[in-house]
Symmetry: C2
């Protein structure tokens, strides 16, 4: 043995669904040449990350090894795989490789940041490969819910790895390449060391259904309507957009695509030749001139996003269109866990308008883009790897996927974000734990999730905020009484007096009692004022607010 | 006609699931004598009500008519029906009526507030009735997921109303009264003017299942385990607690009830004779001495509540008990929409501990307490009312329930919170819209949902908060430069200089440029400083914070 090794290191996506980022390395320990697979984002929520715009994996480990990065490979154009590619392009300084459709989306992102055109290289599908240091990387077509999704065949000097990407086994995906068993067989037959595998649907016990199965159901539904039909789905699901648009067309309806993301996806699919026969659409400006029974809207916002077209329509008139009695709103999508409140809000708003809503509960109008449990078993058998490493899942998914693989006689490793696994030799081995985490894009600034910024915001949201100001003169005497302002707190409490006055009275007493020593000492004075404010508030309104004390010294 | 009328007015629970509060009245318009049915709460969330402790219906309308209230009737002891009874007792000043178990729970709440023992009157079941002004009100037993749930038979001078309460048609509810068709027939046969009816499960198309069906499944599951079995369900589902405890006992396990709410519910059920044969339990202090295979924990926290026993156990050792490899955690409950994130967090934490988790996805270990669509149809037919008024549902549920009733040839009214419906004559008629809303319990203070307090908290959480202080002397000259403090904002932005310094430099310039007139005018000065702060922050960090300006004038 030369002392070289293959390493696998997830920095995002293993232990969560979102912000995928996986590192593969080959070389002497500490000197491995590296490739990065996917650079995704995840989305903030009010519970844990209020005010944050986007969440990225923390790539500090990669930045410190920047000169060792041979390339970045993007499996497909979903935001949780591609969303951080432009934000991190400069920090990583490595070429980005993707197939045509994905590359088209990546270039649009690069352009927004002023990165060069050639930052992204278009790769051809397997059997062509990209050389990246010790690796040869091939894009192996696999079906998913977006065009040109690919697994990666990663050939190393010590053998072949297969990184599944997000996938399902769909023989009729409507748009793009059907699952090609022979092609996969040809990859597998040379022997595969490790399969790093999507785990999203490991708890779904039935075989997955093809994208093609929803078409007839949607067609029936649309044909039966008399008013406007408005359908939402994931903007990137180009096959579904086509199915919906065709159903509209066949029912004699003009089709309007509403929402920037949706138009951009269709545009990219057409530009790259992925989509050749999308029905003709009509600009939204013309929609209000079309009789209701001849109109089909396909809109963004399947997850209840407040600014998306679905939410706008649910709130009332949008682009001159007003949904109402006799119209139908179809969720051709599932609600991602955590988004329920937003989706339900929209459904109720539509209900108030008199719109009939059909959602995914029947299972007829949506299919998942991920492999269910039997399909995962089929994939294991097809690839026949020595080792299965589950990825793209929360801990519960990874653990179940490991159990599934082991139960069927394979080696399997549960490696969450930060777990470095050596794949050399006959047995996978955890060789290191790397510090990982999340980076927040907040406005235009990247901040660490643990920097305390968001913690302070959450505290203000839970407890309110009191500002105390005090002026101290040259003799260390208070010039007037302390002054309070409150934000996010009730105006009055127990005593029915103004809360601000109650606090100011209390603080005036604190100052009256304060000795020379305290008055000289900013820290002691601040602490005395803060504690008194919190206690007085607790007594008056039953909660202890955040307190900021500003002492101005005239000197 | 004497000019009297019957009115129905929901103040909470119609247009949402939670904080139920329904008003019935009889008398001349504007002089109706009133009864209140249920006084519930709903729970806050970080999205819309951060820092809030509980949410009540706004009862301003009732308070203004306090002297006309004849009584408060509580159908059952779920928090969304009983939770506000003690908070609002003094404001309404009317006697509270409930059956024994519900009254027991209500008295515990009253006691915490120092209200008198006799604030709550225990009512007997139908055919006994309580007289309340022009009304005779009877508690008609009906099955649900808590003991002694009741519909109300409300007899008025113009006919009989039936308020269903929360219900299912369960002939074998394990604890408490089975659904008694004959009893209901006897109520219905005298003719019912209106059925005000639970709508929760109107979208569930299959007939509901009996509580008794989960016992054998739970028993099988528990019997197959080798480690600790830990199960969670709604604390108030006493029948389920019994089923779980019995399954544990039969498998040779000692049963520990963990969580205050759970012990309180069992206590109340035993005290009131509802529960006579609950298996012997063991104090939690003894749990760590019991071999794992002989231990069964029944714990609070089925909705992922952060402070409940389930969350504590998922985080690590709790009362000396540490779950791990080989143990089972059972959710014998469903996740209420909106609580998914919290529940999933716990499942993943348990997964990290190596605990196997079984949830409700199989449908074997939980049944709903509400009537499904076919059961609603059965109820309509059983009661045979002239009018159906759906309640206890979001808008989408009420609308669907109205459509269901109308589709089967009955009159039905969609009345959301604040809609006053006259039930006199042959046709229901909307006669008024009353302003309604939500009242927040925030610490110890009740605040209106629209008072702006919570809005300000949300703004601080989204945007951060900057405090600007400035001292102005007797000559209207700034004494030194403006001073900034930030909370919930990054320390540095675009320029990599300290954000506070960037803001202070900008504000010093603003003051340098400010004319005499501005310096004399607090409002103008504040506005200038606020705007400059927001613009400078936007430029530096890409977001516009909330700004509080404090100007101190030496005079």
């Amino acid at each position: 043995m030369s002392g070289e090794r293959i390493i696998y290191l997830p920095l995002g996506g293993a232990g969560e669904i979102g912000m995928n980022c996986y590192v593969y390395g080959y070389g002497k320990p500490g000197e491995e040449r590296l490739i990065v697979v996917d650079l995704g984002v995840t989305f903030p929520d009010m519970d844990g990350s209020p005010g944050v715009d986007l969440i990225f994996p923390d790539i500090a480990w990669l930045k410190e090894r920047r000169e060792r990065i041979e390339g970045i490979f993007i499996t497909h154009a979903h935001e949780d795989h591609i969303g951080a590619v432009a934000h991190y392009y400069e920090a990583l300084g490595a070429p980005v490789h993707a197939r045509a459709f994905t590359a088209n989306i990546a270039r649009r992102k690069m352009e927004e940041f002023g990165h060069p055109e050639n930052a992204v290289t278009t790769a051809s599908a397997w059997p062509e490969t990209v050389s990246a240091g010790p690796f040869k990387v091939g894009f192996l077509p696999i079906s998913h819910s977006i065009p040109e999704s690919s697994a990666l065949v990663i050939d190393t000097p010590e053998g072949r790895l297969v990184h599944s990407g997000d996938f399902k086994l769909d023989h009729d995906p409507v748009v793009g390449e059907p699952f090609d068993r022979d092609l996969w067989d040809s990859v597998a037959k040379e022997g595969v060391k490790a399969l790093v595998c999507d785990s999203t649907n490991v708890f779904s016990v039935h075989e997955g259904r093809s994208e093609a199965t929803v078409g007839p159901e949607i067609e029936k539904l649309v044909a039966a309507q008399k008013g406007i039909v408005c359908a939402t789905t994931f903007a990137s699901n180009v096959a579904r957009l086509k199915t919906l648009a065709e159903a509209g067309n066949r029912a004699g309806r003009s089709v309007v695509l509403l929402g920037r993301a949706m138009r951009r996806m269709v545009e990219a699919a057409v530009e790259t030749g992925v989509l050749t026969d999308f029905p003709k659409t009509v600009p939204v400006e013309e929609a209000s001139n079309i009789p209701r029974e001849n109109l089909m809207l396909i809109v963004t916002g399947s997850q209840g996003e407040r600014r998306a077209a679905s939410a706008q329509l649910a709130r009332g008139k949008h682009f001159g269109i007003e949904l109402g009695e006799g119209d139908l709103f179809l969720f051709s999508s599932k609600t991602i866990p955590g988004n329920e409140r937003g989706v339900i809000r929209i459904i109720n708003q539509l209900s108030e308008l008199g719109v009939d809503v059909v959602d995914d509960s029947s299972g007829r109008y949506h299919v998942s883009g991920h492999a269910n449990r039997p399909d995962l078993e089929a994939m294991h058998d097809l690839v026949g790897p020595q080792i299965v490493i589950p990825m793209h899942g929360e801990h519960r998914h990874l653990r179940e996927h490991v159990a599934l693989a082991k139960g069927r006689g394979r080696q399997a490793v549960l490696a969450v974000n930060g777990t470095m696994v050596s794949l050399s030799g006959n047995k996978p081995e955890v060789v290191d734990y790397v510090e990982t985490g999340r980076t927040y894009l907040d406005g235009s600034v990247q901040i660490g999730a643990l920097d305390g910024v968001v913690r302070d915001r959450i505290r203000m949201a839970l407890n309110g905020h009191v500002l105390v100001t005090l002026i101290v003169d040259e003799e260390n005497e208070a010039l007037g009484d302390p002054w309070c302002e409150t934000m996010g707190l009730p105006e009055t409490g127990r005593s029915r007096q103004s809360l601000v006055e109650v606090l100011e009275e209390e603080l005036a007493e604190v100052i009256g009692r304060a000795g020379k020593k305290t008055m000289r000492d900013d820290a002691a004075l601040e602490e005395a004022l803060r504690r008194a404010t919190r206690n007085a508030a607790q007594n008056e309104i039953g909660k202890k607010p955040e307190v900021t004390v500003v002492i101005s010294r005239l000197s």
